[in-house]
Every structure is written in C-alpha cells, then in structure tokens.
C-alpha cells in the first residue's frame, strides 16, 4: 500500500494543474449540492420541527355555536384518530375594528377567541411581550414572534370596534397554528357575543389533505349537520411557507444536476487522460511488479485526494452560503417568523456529500482505472503517442484536402483521434452552454415576472402614504384621499392615478383571515396582467391571486361570500386570476374601506403619459404633501435581485468549470501531441499557427456544443419555470416562457465556441512556446 501511496502522490504532483481543476470542479459541485439539499430540507424540515415543538394544530375548526353545544363539540376530542385537542373556545368576530396606538395599525375583521391560558396541549402559544389576558376589557394580540417585541411594551394600545368594544392590549403572543387575531378571557368572548366555537386537533394521520379530511369526517360524525362552519389546516401554512425556498429549489436543483454531470465528465476526462498519457508509466509499474489491483488503486487514489479536499472545502462553502440563503429564502413569506433564525443546512447533509461526492468521483474514475488495470505491460511500454482509429485517419485525410489553412485543418482532425475524450469534452461544453442558456432564460423570466408583478409598464411611480395612527412615524398626510387624488392627477406628466388600501376579511367556509386589497381610481388602466379572466368592471366582482385561487379551488364565475367592513355578508363573483397580489382584490372601496372612516389609502400608483419623467414626478409628488413617500418603480424587487445574483453566480461557476473542462482536454491533447507539435515546428510552423491549430481543435467542439446546448438549455428553462411557479403558488402567464429572440439565441450558440477558445487558449500558447528541440530530444 505504501508503494501505491507514493506512486499516487507522485502522480498528483506531476499533474498539479489537472489536480487543481479536479479539486475546483468537485468543490463547486459539492457547494451547489449542499445549498440545494439545504433549501429542499428547509422547505419542510424546519417547519415540521418548529410546528411539532409548539404542538401546532393540524386542523383549526370553527363550529356554529347555535347548531352544536359546547358539550357536543368537547366530545369530538375523543373521536378515533385524534391524538390531542384543545377547546372548545368561544369565538367572536369584530367587524370594522382597528388597532389604535399600535405600530401595526391593523383594521377590519378581528377573530377573537376566548382562551384562559396560552400554554395548551395543542397550539402552545408563547407570550413574548406583556402578559396573557386575565380580566375583562383585556386582549392579547397575535404578532409575529420577534417582531420588535421590545418596542411593543409600554404603549397604550387598544382594539376598538366603532360603537362597541374597546379592549386594552396587554400582551402580544404568537400562535403557530395562526388560530386567531386576538385572545381574551372566555367570559369576555361570551360578553362580546361569541357565536362560534373553536376546536384545535392534532391527528395521528395528518400527512395529507385527504387524511385530514377523513379525520375531520370522523370528528364531525356525531355532530348535527352543518355545525362545522370552517376549517384551516397546517398544510396550508406549510405550503405558504415553502414558497420562499421554492423560488430557489427548482433552478438550484437544475444547476446542481448540471454541476454533478460536469464533475463526472471532467473526472472521467482527467483520469482517462492520465491513463492514456501514462501508458508507458503503467507498463513500467507492472514491469516493476505492481499488481492490477495496485495499478487501479494508484489511479483511484490520484483522483480521490483532490476530490476529498475539494469536497471538504465545498461542504464548508455550501454550509455558509446555504445557511445564508436558507434563512433569506423565507423573506417576505407569510408565516416566516415560524422558521426565522431556525432554518439552517441540516447536519445530515454533510456526511451524505462528504461520502457521496468522493464516491461519485471514484465511480467516474473507475472505467479508465480498470482500463489501466487490464493493459498488458508489454503493450503499455511500447505504446507511443496518439493511436489513431480508422475513422480518425479518414477524417484527417479529408480535412487535408480542404481549402482550410493547414494548421486549422490539422486541428480540426484532432477530435477524431480520441472519440471518447471528444465526447466528454463536447458534453462539458454542451452543459456549459446549457447552464448559460438556462441562466439567461431564468434571468429574463424573473425580470419579466418582476415587471409584471410591479406593473412597471403601466405604473412608473408608487407613492406610499404614512399610517396616521402609527406613533414615531413621519407626519401623516395633511390632505384627504380625495384631495391627494386631485393633487397627484394635476402634477405634470400624470396620466392615470389609482389608490390602494387593504382590509382583513373572512370568507365563508374558512377560518383563515383573507387579505383583501381594495383599489379605486384609474384601476382599469393600471391593473396587472391577468393569468386568466378579466379585470373587475365594478362592485360585486373580485380578482384572486394564484395562491388563493388554488388554495380555495376557485374558478371563473364562482360566487364567494365575504364579510364587508360592517360584518355583513356580501356575495362576490370571481372574474379573474392574477399572478401575485392580495388574496383577493376588489374595487368596491365604499364597501370594504369607506365604511370605516379611519381607514384610508395606503399607496397611490401613478402611470405617466408617454415621455413623462418618473424622477421629476416623484420629486414633485414629495412636495405635494409631507406624508407622501414617492418612489420610482424600478421593476426589480430584492427577491428577484437575489435570484438573479444566485443564478449568475452559479452560471459563472458552471461556465468556468466547463471552461476548465475544455482547458483540461486541451492540456491533455497538447501533451499527447507534443512530439507532433515539435515536428511541425521543426518544419516551420509558427507559434501563431500552433495556437490556431490547438484552438481550432477545441473551437470545433465548442461550436457543436453551442448548437446542442442552446436547445437543451431552452428545454430546461421550459421545465424549471413552471415548476418554480407551481412551487411558489403562482400561475405564470405564457409570456414568462417566451423570453427568447434570435439574436440572443445566436449569441448563446456562439458562446460554446467562445468558451472553447477561452479554455484552449492558454494550453495552445504554452504549446506554441514549448521548445521543439527539447521535445524532439526527449521523445
């Protein structure tokens, strides 16, 4: 074994460049795999851990208090399949209520549950600021955990329902099950006129929607018909939470797969190159008494060393980058506080990659290593340079008769001499071009998504309005909404102005709070592109966002029942689906916003006339009212920027690795042909002609690789974009897939040749500078 080790170590030392290339390739691949697996694990693993630790409810159920008695509902805790439960709790709904003096200024509908303590067997809540409600007139509000907890204490905050309830906020707590907006004592809830009852269950079988439905069927079997009025499941929370990482997982998986294939190809190329170049060396080893197993071991150790080092460093890099990305991935996602700061790359990933990646490298090296093992000593010692195949010779001959400059035609014949290496190098280029094409497509789609989401084509300036009820905020606008409308419309360049506000409401059949966006003004001119259906023509119609659409199985023309600002049930027809936005969007300002006199517009959107200057308009809007905060719509959000930067980084790495693959192939080829190059120099081939010959050999592969890689990359883009859309809950319009144009495709196809030329350039220069005298003397 010592002999194997010393020979393998010497072989590594002799191939420093290739060893380095191999190490870098494995490093990049490992890092990508760690990041991808980390994100995939974070989608469910972190949530499940946190949710189980807090005994989150699998189902939050709301029963009609007039149909089923509390005793009947309490009996459901003993239904088969129920692992544990909590309740019944009286539940009241405040309509048109508002949080006064608090930093969140929530308003609209508040679901308030009467619960005597937070630390229950199911949905164990954590009070992280203030205390639990213990007496009349007290309420604890639901606020995302860690959301500026310290600054919540000390303010005199009340939840006020016009003409009715006035509750003092005594604490802030978070419910992993998102079971209510606020909690009071059970007696207080009854006083508020609770007409519903809440129960929360954990089931033994809760793995799917179907299982939960079956569980609930058992639970409600003994209850009067119609007593169950609404439910919500933890799967919905998990799905919404997964939207963050799911932005990254599909394309990271794509790039991870590309990286692994490139690694395998390059390892195969390096080892087979080492075997071919080391024929004589193998022969000498065997002549010295090395057994076939020892020869195989030499070649395997030779690649395992750099692979292990690259893998270890890659795992470290992947851990740092992955943890950062995993934590950032949940940014802006509903319920992200559940996993905030807890999401990290799981530790099980490290042994997997630290064993798996070197194993993959060893498997890739096995075929050429076995070839070395089988080589007879006599043949190995006598084998010279490149052994041409018949097909290779014929190709070289045909090229010799062409009108191409002789160095170019000689170079073009090289790929035919080593079909195996040519195939590996070609595949490497194909994958490099595929990665580049995929990245360009993804970036274009992300930008198109961002433009569609921000409506950049229609809305050039967005104006935020400060919340008048928030302490410590800049001054509230001095003008009313109507006055602001008139002033903003009168500013030079304005073509269309709309206002937006949001409200909280509930939809019949669900315990979830529905986020309702309400728009008024020139909404017909400023509305977003729709995935299906049409924009609203007036009151009584709503548009749903994709996630809500699928979550509630909506369809065009379906009628849903919402609560208006006064708590009255109103029927709304679903007329369209938009890619991203509030759960539902309505233009019925008077019904959902106007009924509450303290509510007002939170943003204004402005579409400028053709040629209008957004910066000038924003500056002018700032002067209109100190409470306005205009910003120019750049069309690219921070998530999109992160996605594009991650894609760009991975692409640069993969293209660089592909370039290293070409570089490696060029190094092998020029080394094998150093005698030929020496001969050609001796008969007058100039250094520039040597460069042309080597570059031509690789450029030919690059050109073919470009032509193959572009359609493969387009196909990958076509697969990954819809998967990403599905994973993030967005139905994407077809325009997001149609991002290609002919000049762009031509440029991408040429990138293969460019990649090959870049990869081959240094070895070609090195070959051109090698001393012919020395080569011819030593050969």
């Amino acid at each position: 074994m010592r002999a194997v080790w010393s020979v393998a170590r010497a072989a590594v030392g002799r191939r420093r460049l290739q060893t380095f290339v191999l190490g870098v390739v494995v490093l990049v691949s490992t890092a990508t795999v760690v990041v991808t697996l980390g994100l995939m694990a974070a989608v469910s693993g972190t949530f499940d851990k946190v949710y189980d630790a807090a005994h989150g409810a699998h189902v939050v159920a709301e029963f009609d208090g007039s149909t089923a008695t509390a005793a009947q509902i309490a009996q459901t805790a003993h239904a088969s399949g129920v692992e544990s439960s909590v309740g019944p709790f009286p539940e009241a709904v405040l309509h048109g209520a508002a949080e006064k003096g608090g930093p969140f200024a929530r308003s609209g509908i508040f679901t308030v549950v009467g619960r005597d303590r937070p630390d229950t067997a199911v949905d164990a809540m954590k009070v992280f600021s203030g205390r639990w409600a213990t007496g009349p007139g007290e309420i604890v509000l639901d606020v995302p955990q860690g959301f500026g907890g310290a600054r919540l204490i000390g303010n005199d905050v009340h939840v006020v329902e016009p003409g009715g309830v006035d509750l003092k906020v005594v604490g802030y707590a978070s419910s992993v099950s998102q079971s209510a907006d606020g909690w009071v004592t059970p007696a207080e809830a009854e006083r508020m006129g609770a007409d519903s009852t809440q129960m929360m269950y954990r089931f033994r079988d809760a793995g799917s929607d179907a299982a939960l439905k079956a569980d609930m069927a058992v639970v409600t079997a003994g209850l009067p018909s119609g007593s169950l009025t609404a439910t919500s499941s933890y799967l919905g929370i998990r799905t919404r939470l997964a939207e963050g990482p799911n932005r990254y997982v599909p394309f990271l998986t794509g790039f991870g797969i590309l990286g692994l294939i490139v690694s395998v190809l390059i390892v195969g190329n390096v080892v087979s190159g080492a075997v071919v170049a080391g024929y004589r060396h193998i022969g000498i080893l065997k002549a010295l008494g090395f057994t076939p197993d020892q020869v195989t071991a030499v070649y395997l150790v030779m690649v395992t060393l750099p692979a292990a080092i690259g893998c270890a460093i890659g795992a470290g890099v992947g851990s740092v980058v992955g943890t950062d990305l995993v934590q950032g991935a949940f940014w802006g996602v509903s319920g992200n506080y559940l996993v905030s700061g807890k999401a990290t790359v799981p530790s099980w990933i490290f042994p997997v990659v630290l064993i798996g990646m070197p194993a993959l490298v060893v498997v890739s090296a096995l075929i050429p290593a076995v070839r070395a093992r089988r080589l007879s000593a006599a043949v190995a010692i006598s084998a010279g340079g490149v052994q041409q195949t018949g097909r290779g010779l014929a190709a070289q001959r045909r090229l010799g008769g062409s009108r191409l400059p002789r160095p170019v035609s000689l170079g073009l014949g090289w790929p035919f001499a080593r079909p195996g290496r040519t195939a590996l190098t070609l595949s490497t280029v194909v994958l490099g071009v595929t990665a580049a094409t995929l990245a360009v497509g993804l970036a274009a789609s992300v930008l198109a998504f961002s433009r569609a989401q921000s409506q950049q084509d229609r809305i050039q300036v967005t104006i935020a309005v400060d919340n008048p009820a928030s302490p410590g905020h800049p001054p509230a606008p001095v003008h009313t909404d109507d006055q602001l409308f008139a002033l903003l419309r009168a500013l030079p360049g304005a073509a269309h102005v709309s206002a937006q506000a949001s409200a909280r409401t509930r939809m019949a059949g669900s315990t979830d709070t529905v986020r309702l966006g309400v728009e008024t003004g020139d909404t017909a001119a400023l509305h977003p592109d729709l995935v299906r259906g049409r924009w609203m023509n007036g009151p009584g119609e709503v548009v749903a966002d994709s996630e809500f659409w699928h979550g509630h199985r909506l369809s065009l023309g379906r009628t849903i029942v919402l609560r208006d600002a006064d708590g009255r049930q109103v029927r709304e027809t679903v007329v369209g689906e938009q890619m991203d936005g509030w759960d539902l969007t309505s233009t019925d300002w008077d019904r959902f916003i106007g009924l509450n006199p303290t509510d007002r517009a939170t943003t204004f959107s402005v579409g400028l006339a053709k040629g209008g200057d957004p910066r000038a308009y924003a500056a002018a809007a700032r002067r209109v009212d100190p409470g306005l905060q205009p910003s120019v719509n750049t069309g690219v959000g921070s998530v999109e920027k992160t996605m594009i930067s991650v894609v760009s980084t991975l692409t640069v790495l993969l293209v660089a690795v592909s370039g290293l693959g070409v570089f490696n192939a060029a190094v092998l080829s020029t080394r094998e042909r150093r005698r030929d190059i020496g001969v050609l120099k001796s008969i007058g081939m100039t250094p520039r002609q040597v460069i042309a010959m080597v570059v031509a050999a690789m450029a030919a592969l690059g050109a073919i690789g470009g032509l193959v890689g572009v359609p493969v990359g387009m196909l990958a883009h076509r697969i990954i974009i819809p998967i990403t859309g599905h994973g993030t809950g967005h139905d994407l319009p077809a325009s997001l897939l149609h991002v290609w144009n002919w000049p762009l495709l031509a440029l991408l196809a040429l990138s293969g040749a460019a990649l090959a030329v870049l990869g081959a350039f240094l070895p070609s220069v090195r070959a051109s500078r090698a001393s012919a005298a020395q080569v011819l003397r030593t050969e």
């Binding site: 041409q388 062409s402 001499a417 120099k681 001796s682 008969i683 100039t686 051109s768």
Partner: protein, 233 residues
C-alpha cells in the same frame, strides 16, 4: 552558408556547447561526430534555429538567428532548413504523401501544388508507390525516405540530418546514406550528426569531432562511396 562564432549553450549547471566556432560553405558535406553528450545534437539545434544559443552568434544563409523572434525562426526553418531525424518524426495520422506535402502547405503552397511537388520527390526517392500508406505501415527505410522527402520539400539551402541511420537496419541505412550522398553530389549542403565513423566517411568531406561541448578536432577527408573514393573538394 553557416557561421558559428564562439557559441555557448548552457543547460542549468552545465554547458552543452562551450565556445564553438565553425564555418560551413555552400555545397559542403560535413559530419559532426562525438560520443553521447558531446553536444553534437545541440549544435544541430543551434544551426536549425530549434534552440537559441546562450552566447555567441549563429548566422545561417546570411541571417543572424539570434536576432530573429520565434516567428522569424519558424519562417527561417520553413524556407532554408530541411531536417531528418533519427526516429523519423513523421505525423502518424497523415499518410506518407500528406506528411511530405505538409511542409509545402505551411510554406504557402496550395494543397494541389504541394502534393504535386511531394509526388515528384517521392518519385525521385523511389517511394511513390507508398504515397497513401500511413507511417505505422512503412518500413524504417521507407519512413526515413519520406522524412528526407519532407525535408527537401521547400528546396532548403541546408539539409540537417541527426543520426539518420541510427534507427535503421544496415540495408535501409545503406540506402539512406546513398540518398544523402547523392543529394550532396547534386549541390545540397549537408550537415550530418553521427557517432558512426563509417557513415561519416561515406557521406562527408569534412569531419568535425566534438567532446564536452567543444570542437576537439576537425579534418578534411575523402569520401568512400559505392562509386569509389571521391576526393575532398
């Protein structure tokens, strides 16, 4: 034709050539002899421009090789030098005719022109029937004839041969010696590196003996060929 003045070539800690001065006239046939490591091949590399001297000057056909860059040296070899090696150094993936024609194509001849010239040369060297055969299938003697044809492709002013019979059996070696001698008779300047005194005696009128990177001695001799003794010119 060739003038070396106080040429020195250092490889790390030893001098392969140590103050060599030598002059070769056009039409001469010179044999450079000496034991292994004496510097004879290094001398040949200096003259062919395959290597650069560490000191001194090398002038061939009026061109100071020390003043030429790499491209200049390549063009110099292409136009003025023909080289024949001990192990032939043919390109294995080209048939004999293409190996010969390659030198012409590099010099700027069209494929047709260079092949025509290559065919003429192969005819003259009596290997025309082997034109489509790859080097691996040629005998040693045939390979060396192909190498000589390639060396003559661009009508070089100077033909350099480094142990041209070293890898051949005696019969093939004889044929190559006869070929080189005949070329010299026709006016081709020839520099031959060998450690075989018989080969030197058969090909050269002047013998330069080297030892330890220096010219140990130099003498003019008659050439003993199949046609009899040819007097030194």
């Amino acid at each position: 034709m060739v003038r070396l003045t106080d040429v020195r070539k250092d490889f790390w800690d030893y001098a392969a050539l140590d103050g060599v001065s030598l002059e070769i006239r056009a039409g001469e046939s010179v044999a450079v002899m000496g034991p292994s490591g004496s510097g004879k091949s290094t001398l040949l590399n200096m003259v062919s421009g395959l290597d650069r001297s560490s000191a001194g000057s090398v002038v061939v056909g009026g061109e100071d090789l020390g003043a030429l860059n790499e491209k200049g040296l390549a063009l110099f070899r292409r136009r003025r030098i023909g080289m024949v090696f001990q192990f032939f150094n043919l390109l294995d993936d080209l048939p004999a005719l293409d190996n010969v024609a390659l030198a012409g194509q590099l010099a700027g001849l069209t494929a047709r022109q260079s092949k025509q010239r290559a065919e003429e040369l192969m005819e003259e060297l009596r290997i025309a029937d082997r034109r489509d055969v790859y080097p691996a299938s040629l005998s040693g003697g045939e390979r060396q004839r192909v190498a000589v044809a390639r060396a003559l492709m661009n009508r070089p002013a100077l033909l350099l041969a480094d142990e041209p019979t070293g890898a051949l059996d005696s019969r093939s070696g004889e044929a190559v010696v006869e070929l080189l001698t005949e070329l010299n008779r026709l006016g081709q300047t020839l520099v031959l590196v060998t450690h075989d005194p018989r080969l030197a005696a058969r090909c050269a009128y002047r013998v330069v003996e080297m030892a330890d990177g220096r010219i140990a001695c130099e003498h003019v001799t008659d050439r003993v060929t199949d046609r009899g003794v040819e007097r030194a010119r």
